[in-house]
C-alpha cells in the first residue's frame, strides 16, 4: 500500500534539453533560409534522360531520302519559384560535329513532350524528334533560352 501512495518519481533532470530544443529550432530557421536561397538561385534544367533512339518514320511522317529521325527523351525541371515557358521548337536543336544544325521535326512518338508553361516545382518528361542525315551518329543536344533565364545548355548524345 505504501508503494501505491508513493508519489511518482521526478523525471531525471536533463540539463541538455534546452540546448537540443534550441539547436533544433535554429536548424529549422537555417533550413528554411537554405531552401529559400537555393530556390531563388535555381534555374530550370533540361536533360536527356534516356539513350537516343532512331526511327525511319511511319505512315504519316517520312524523314525523306537518306534521312532518319533522332528521338530523345528529355526531362524539364522547374525548381524555381516562377513559371517557366518551355517551347522546344525555339529552345532546342541538335548539332553534329561539323556544326550543322537540326531543328525539331515531327514524328510519331509514344510520349511526345508538348510546349507550355512548367509551373514552379513541376517536372515534365517526354520525347522530341529531329530529322537528321542517316550517316550522322553523334549529336549534341542544345537547350537555349533567350528570355530572362538566359540558359545555355549542351549535352553530347
Amino acid at each position: 500500500m505504501s508503494n501505491l501512495r508513493k508519489k511518482p518519481e521526478k523525471s531525471r533532470n536533463t540539463p541538455g534539453a534546452p540546448w537540443i530544443v534550441g539547436a533544433a529550432f535554429l536548424a529549422i530557421i537555417t533550413g528554411i533560409l537554405i531552401v529559400w536561397i537555393v530556390r531563388q538561385h535555381a534555374i530550370p534544367s533540361v536533360s536527356v534522360v534516356s539513350p537516343v533512339s532512331y526511327s525511319n518514320g511511319s505512315e504519316s511522317y517520312q524523314p525523306g531520302t537518306s534521312r532518319k529521325y533522332v528521338i530523345i527523351e528529355i526531362e524539364v525541371k522547374n525548381p524555381t519559384t516562377r513559371a517557366f515557358n518551355f517551347a522546344p521548337v525555339v529552345q532546342t536543336y541538335l548539332s553534329d560535329d561539323k556544326g550543322n544544325r537540326y531543328d525539331m521535326a515531327p514524328a510519331e512518338l509514344s510520349n511526345p513532350l508538348a510546349a507550355g508553361v512548367i509551373l514552379p516545382g513541376e517536372t515534365k518528361r517526354g520525347q522530341l524528334s529531329y530529322n537528321v542525315p542517316v550517316d550522322v551518329t553523334k549529336f549534341v543536344f542544345h537547350f537555349v533560352t533567350d528570355d530572362s533565364y538566359n540558359i545555355s545548355y549542351t549535352q553530347s548524345l
Partner: protein, 217 residues
C-alpha cells in the same frame, strides 16, 4: 549529462533537422505542389477522344503570361489639406489714426504629393521567344514556307520545320496559311484555297510541340 555530450547532441540534432528541412523544402514540397496543380492541354476541336493526347504533356490551356500582362496597381495617397493662412494681428497705436486693414497672406500652396513609385514590372518576353506574346501583325510577317508562323485558337506556332514533313504535302503552307489564323481551317469549318479537311488527334498533339506563345489583340 556532461557539457561535451550536450554540445555534441545539440550539434547532431542541428545538422539532422537542417537536412530534413532542406530535403523537404527542395524535393518533397515541390513535388506535392506539382501534383496538385492541373495543367489541361490542347484538345482537338471536336469532342472525340484524341489518341495519343495525354493531359500531362500538352500545351497550356491558359497562358500564364503574367510578365506581359501584369497590371500595376497604385495605392492612392491622401491629398494633404491646405493649411489656413495665419492672420496678422492689427497694430494698435495710441493716435486715432485709422488702423490699417490687415492683409491676409495667401495660403501656402500645398506641395504636390510625390507619386508612388510603381512596382517594377517584369521584363516582357519578346515575340518569338518561348512564352512571348505576339500581335497578329507580327505573326503575319512570317508568311513563307521557310519562315512560317501560324495562329490557332489565340496562340501562335512556329511550324517552319514542320512544313516539309506535313503528311498532306507542303502545298497547303503558303502565303494564305503561313502568317494567318488557321483556326477555322483546322477545325474544318473553312476551306484553305480549295481544301477542307479535318486533322487527327495526333496532329494536335504534334501541333502542341510547336506552341510558342499567345497572340494579343
Amino acid at each position: 549529462m556532461s557539457l561535451k555530450k550536450i554540445i555534441s547532441v545539440s550539434l547532431i540534432s542541428y545538422v539532422a533537422v537542417t537536412i530534413l528541412v532542406v530535403v523537404y523544402g527542395l524535393y518533397v514540397a515541390p513535388v506535392r505542389v506539382a501534383q496538385t496543380i492541373p495543367n489541361p492541354g490542347i484538345q482537338p476541336p471536336d469532342s472525340r477522344p484524341a489518341s495519343g493526347v495525354s493531359g500531362g504533356t500538352s500545351a497550356p490551356a491558359t497562358d500564364t503570361k503574367d510578365s506581359t500582362s501584369a497590371t500595376q496597381t497604385t495605392t492612392p495617397t491622401p491629398t494633404p489639406t491646405p493649411t489656413t493662412a495665419p492672420t496678422t494681428t492689427p497694430k494698435t497705436t495710441p493716435t486715432p489714426t485709422p488702423t490699417p486693414t490687415p492683409t491676409p497672406t495667401p495660403a501656402p500652396t500645398p506641395a504636390p504629393a510625390p507619386a508612388p513609385a510603381p512596382a517594377p514590372a517584369p521584363a516582357p518576353i519578346a515575340c518569338g521567344s518561348a512564352g512571348g506574346t505576339c500581335t497578329a501583325a507580327q505573326v503575319a510577317a512570317h508568311n513563307t514556307k521557310t519562315n512560317c508562323w501560324m495562329i490557332y485558337s489565340g496562340k501562335y506556332y512556329i511550324v517552319t520545320s514542320y512544313v516539309s514533313q506535313h503528311p498532306g504535302g507542303s502545298t497547303s503552307f503558303n502565303s494564305t496559311s503561313c502568317g494567318h489564323d488557321v483556326t477555322a481551317y483546322l477545325k474544318g469549318s473553312a476551306t484553305l484555297g480549295s481544301q477542307r479537311h479535318t486533322h487527327s488527334g495526333s496532329a494536335y498533339t504534334i501541333l502542341s510541340s510547336y506552341y510558342v506563345g499567345p497572340v494579343s489583340g
